[in-house]
């Protein structure tokens, strides 16, 4: 099992560590030719979505990645990655990959002083460590999308078939359960949508 991590900007090294701990090989995607290698899943890390979205386009990776996700490539997105996947951004005319049927508001909680940490539920897992850092909110998701986590009435994690997206950062702690869920459900397909 090889997990490719989009490594144009952000905390891609933390994601690589998580998937290595789970026994996966990892691969950094920094430019178009990196996409020619074979991999089984794609990780979109935290960081700045404006930077990542711009580099995806200017380094000529946008179409390939978008097509592969639409063709079923398992993808896990955290924070900025979720903004890249969203079909709609509220207060922002930009759309990046637009493969996931959700509407997202960027920096919805406020600036860094509003960043916070909780222990929350994710699917059937309890007390999952969740850091929200200048986090976005998922304000709408289409019918049929599985909601995996909520905080104060806001959706914080969803899955639509091969795509798993969340507004927090499971990669920052030592808790591997969210990544394990991704491998079990989106990559191995142990359950169906």
């Amino acid at each position: 099992m090889k997990a490719a991590v989009l490594a144009v900007q952000g905390d891609f090294a933390e994601h690589e560590n998580v998937f290595r701990k789970l026994g996966c090989d990892t691969l950094q995607i920094r430019q178009k030719r990196d996409l020619e290698q074979s991999f089984d899943a794609l990780i979109l890390p935290g960081g700045e979505s404006t930077v990542q979205g711009k580099l995806l386009r200017e380094l000529d990776m946008f179409d390939t990645i978008r097509t592969r996700i639409l063709d079923g490539l398992p993808v896990m997105a955290t924070c900025a990655g979720t903004i890249l996947l969203a079909k709609q951004l509220l207060d922002d005319p930009t759309i990046h990959l637009g493969t996931l049927d959700i509407a997202v508001r960027r920096n919805a909680y406020g600036r860094q002083l509003a960043s916070f940490h909780i222990s929350g539920s994710f699917g059937t897992s309890k007390d999952v460590s969740m850091s929200f850092i200048r986090a976005p909110q998922i304000e709408f998701c289409a019918p049929g999308i599985e909601v995996l986590s909520e905080h104060q009435g806001r959706i914080t994690a969803v899955r639509q078939n091969n795509q798993l997206a969340m507004t927090f950062h499971p990669e920052l702690g030592t808790d591997l359960r969210v990544a394990q869920y991704f491998l079990d459900v989106c990559v191995s397909g142990k359950t169906t949508c």
Binding site: Q9, L59, Q112
Partner: protein, 291 residues
């Protein structure tokens, strides 16, 4: 500041990794920087090259001007306070700045003490020339470190010296026997616990960026090759001929710092770089402030 808040502050720096933080003096420049792919901007009234040229005492920027920049962009906004200037730091915290740079670029307000950053909720980044300075700042509560370099010169030599020294010292500490750490902590004038963390992990406990003198995509790539986790560009962008194009090229150079063919393309046709100043020509040595 509680431990959890400190971790969140360290984690914001992690989100900036692999990115470029650009000095801007107006909302227009901030927008240019954001559009060019900056992962954050540093709002200040004068960029370091102009601070050098103007001389005199250099202070925190007008909070009103910083607020305008906060409104102009969606990426994190940082701002500088003088070393040891508790009140300037509190003012920046009050306007909800995302990161405070307690910076040697401004005139120090206190020639002995730094701000006790542990008392703040807002995160701080501080400059360091070596491992000792870095760990002392982290002990005071800094959640991110950058090399000092020599700001406003367009000369990379000091940033290289500082990054080299830091990584050499980290390697030395990582290879020490456990019982040698006590003496090393004494010599470096740092707490044992922080040194032990460096010994065990082979890296600083917080994110480490390069800063001071970065003027070209090649300079930015050089600092990444030397182990920087990202780059601050101060005067190098808005003192050059075509800021937008240069900024965009530096962003891509940081992402693909190991692809030299791409670096060659990125370095082509950028127009004039900022006019540099050699170390011998500098009257004010900023790197010696706050050690």
């Amino acid at each position: 500041m509680d431990e959890q808040q400190y971790l969140l502050n360290c984690d914001l720096a992690r989100m900036l990794k692999g990115g470029v933080i650009m000095d801007v003096t107006t909302p227009e420049q901030a927008k240019i920087a954001e559009d060019a792919g900056a992962c954050a901007v540093m709002a200040l009234e004068r960029i370091p090259a102009d601070i050098r040229a103007a001389g005199g005492v250099s202070r925190m920027s007008d909070p009103g001007m910083i607020k305008e920049i906060q409104q102009a962009v969606t990426i994190p906004v940082m701002a500088k306070c003088r070393i040891g200037h508790i009140a300037e730091a509190r003012i920046l915290e009050a306007i909800e700045i995302d990161y405070i740079d307690e910076s040697e670029v401004l005139s120090p307000a206190d020639d002995i003490y730094h701000v006790d950053k542990r008392q703040f909720k807002v995160p701080f980044v501080c400059g360091a020339r070596d491992l000792g300075e870095a760990l002392r700042r982290i002990n005071e509560g800094a959640a991110m470190i950058r090399t000092k370099g020599e700001p406003g010169t367009g000369d990379i030599v000091q940033a290289v010296r500082h990054m080299r020294k830091m990584t050499q010292e980290i390697r030395r500490v990582a290879n020490m026997a456990d019982d040698e750490l006590f003496e090393a902590a004494k010599q470096l004038q740092v707490p044992y616990e922080l040194l032990k963390s460096v010994h065990e992990n082979g890296k600083l406990p917080v994110v480490n960026f390069a800063a001071g003198g970065v003027a070209t995509p090649a300079d930015a790539a050089l600092m990444m090759l030397l182990g920087a986790e990202g780059v601050f560009v101060g005067s190098g962008i808005f003192k050059s001929g075509d800021p937008a194009q240069r900024a965009s090229a530096i962003v891509k150079a940081v992402t693909n710092y190991q692809d030299f063919k791409m670096l060659a393309e990125l370095s082509s046709g950028l127009g004039e770089a900022m006019v540099g100043i050699n170390p011998q020509e500098i009257k004010t040595i900023m790197e010696e402030r706050g050690i």
